[in-house]
Symmetry: C2
Subunit: 424 residues, 2 copies
């Protein structure tokens, strides 16, 4: 056994085989002769090192946190403990929605590294959507994933003692919550230093949004909910860059932003990314029209929401063993209708909150620091802005008027209407 | 220095002077000759030992937790750590609303004991209200206390990193939260073993309430909010038995149920206890009519809510230094009206939630395990039931119809109307 290092040191392509060569779970999978391993660093995210290690009998991914934001450098410190939270989120997600997150082979807290299953031939969902691929299973797989992780991590199913202990554990993931609190909920709505947008094309609509009092108030109401409501363990960063796909498999990665927050946040962020893909398709028509892709994306939104609702309702009826909406008050006294009425109230609350979170996610991806490749890869800035502007207007509307929206089809129709106004 | 005991042992009247005789903060206050101390055990609450210790130069209170519920005995274990949470809540309340909670002189975590200021000639507010005393300052003092502790313990004022660390600390107060979750929010709404009510007089209204689907659903919505929303440090048990008064001073005691929860819970529980006092006055008219007392109590409700709102608004305008509703989005860009709009939304949310929590607090005090002396001291059961029944109906209405109620005067008028129907 190699002597484990106790103080953190970043891995390199050269040092990795030596440092990890004696980890049984790793060597057993890819081959015991670590000198034969081939290591590539492939991290293209904002925060971490990511290595693919190929050995004679298999491959793994090694993800290691750095004590700062990789995108920015050591001027923006970020604690290594995010790896600890990612590891614990992965184990909980696997227990609650088996088979979706990568299998964890090894975790080293001091080195902030996780060795996990290498997903191949999977690609990042965002890239597939930009390329115009219509993945047939994502709505079903992701609707089920969200319903299962969100329901089973709440007092609806968990013993509340366990949830409170876990909430206390994840409450320490404060630096990553801080990123969301500032970059998602606040910065896009004023002239913050790290913001950027497609200029000058978007200047008028950006000025209009920042002058919009109702939008600023509602965005801050959503931030209040995000910070105060600790009902379940969230993925915390569930966008199309955190999902890997093949034609017949959907996997969810990178839960380092996990914490106990409101169910609607994961749902809203995911649907927002589908809607952004929808608005961005006009920028990717060089090789042919994307009408079918647009119809597919609105269909994915509708189906994801429908699957989420249906699975949530199924779990409500069959796994509601926690202290909330206890069966002694409903089913056990013959009042099935009361249980359904309560379910309706919970889903309605998630619905309205989901729309608010979705609108804000769209805004921050176009106005804030971390933009989406969906729009960023549109090189013609006029064309890009003509995709971004309607997305911004749509985001404003579903945030501010969220309590007046009644169905996902109605919201999809609003997206099509707002896009159509620009394209007419 | 006496050798400190490391394993818990309950104090007795006889052992207290020896065991606490060398604690400087205590001896310095009441006299160094502990043989001259006079000790009385006066605990009349449900959970703990409470001693008054009189010495040559002063008096103190010693409150010690027991490893079980005193009211029930060791068949209902309850951890000693509640003393730890009470101590930490007292220090935070003193920092946020100085001068209201008892001064803490000494805390011993292993012995689960707190030595604190002896409040004299204060009496328990509930007893004063039963006796028909119109305390002139309680509305102002308690409105200020709630606004200051609830605002300053939230992300409105606290650095969110500090709030999250504190939230994690108090998340371990799970056993006392469990008492509230079950005894307050659940048991009253079905035939739970520990329930009791004035029978058979109340049987019809109790059956009506338990058959009331909307009430059961809304009570569980409030429980969901109570369990999920962790926005600020609550007192957690702010009823008229946790308040001590003289004609010119109001003090708040016993925060062992403290945890991070929704602001509206403390407000709703307190107003519920004023409303219960109002409905109970008909049972205390043997020595003369209580018309003036009833008018006083509705006035206290209205003034408490008005003072709470006004102080909350003042803090919003002058101390909003936390991450929520940040000034960069409002005042700093000249949008004072936007800040006021957001304040209105926050207060409206507290208003509706407060009514829901108040209705449930009324129900559990008449239908659950822990009843109020306001009603319990009415010996004539017919008379008691004739006070309790309208209180139950009022509680139902403010819970179920809370979103349709617009002002505290309107809710007070509803209370008077419901009482009048019975008395007519």
């Amino acid at each position: 056994m190699t002597v484990q290092q106790t103080s953190f040191e970043a891995l390199t392509v050269d040092s990795l085989p030596h440092r990890l060569g004696r980890i049984g779970a790793l060597a057993g999978r890819i081959g015991r002769d670590s000198a034969a391993w081939k290591v590539r660093e492939v991290g293209d995210g904002n925060l971490n090192l990511v290595f693919i290690v190929d050995g004679p009998t298999g491959s793994v991914v090694v993800k290691q946190a750095l004590p700062y934001v990789r995108l920015v450098g050591d001027s923006w410190p970020l604690p290594l403990k995010r790896s600890f939270f990612e590891y614990h989120a992965l184990t909980r997600q696997e227990a609650r929605a088996p088979g979706i997150v990568p299998q964890v082979l090894h975790f080293d807290e001091a080195q902030a590294l996780i060795v996990m299953e290498y997903l191949t031939p999977h690609v990042i969902l965002r890239k597939a959507l930009i390329a115009g691929h219509e993945l047939p299973l994502i709505a079903k797989d992701l609707g089920l994933f969200m319903a299962r992780t969100l329901f089973r991590g709440a007092d609806l199913a968990m013993p509340t003692r366990d949830r409170k202990a876990d909430l206390a554990l994840f409450a320490d993931n404060v630096e990553l919550c801080d990123i969301t609190e500032n970059l998602v909920f606040t910065d896009p709505y004023f002239e913050a230093a790290m913001n950027r947008h497609t200029a000058p094309q978007l200047d008028p609509v950006v000025a209009e949004l920042r002058a919009d009092r109702d939008l600023r108030v509602e965005a801050q109401r959503m931030k209040h909910l995000f910070a105060a409501n600790a009902e379940t363990l969230l993925h915390g960063d569930l966008h199309s860059g955190s999902i890997m796909v093949t034609g017949d498999e959907t996997r969810v990665i990178d839960p380092e932003f996990a914490f106990y927050g409101p169910m609607a946040f994961d749902v809203g962020m995911l649907l927002a990314n589908f809607w952004m893909s929808y608005f961005s398709q006009d920028g990717h028509e060089a090789a042919g029209p994307r009408d079918s892709m647009r119809a597919y994306l609105l269909g994915v939104v509708a189906e994801t929401w429908a699957v989420f609702r249906a699975e949530f309702a199924r779990l409500w009826r069959t796994e509601r063993t926690g202290m909330l909406y206890h069966r002694s008050l409903f089913e056990d006294r013959g009042d099935m209708i009361g249980s359904e009425q309560a379910l309706g109230a919970v889903l309605q609350s998630i619905w309205h909150d989901m729309l608010g979170f979705a609108g804000i996610e769209i805004h921050r991806r176009i106005l804030g620091l971390a933009h989406n490749a969906d729009f960023e890869t549109i090189e013609d800035e006029d064309l890009r802005a003509s995709c971004e502007a309607p997305a911004l207007r749509f985001g404003r509307q579903i945030t501010v008027a969220r309590h007046k929206m009644h169905s996902i089809d109605e919201v999809n129709a609003l997206a099509a209407l707002i896009r159509g106004e620009v394209r007419r």
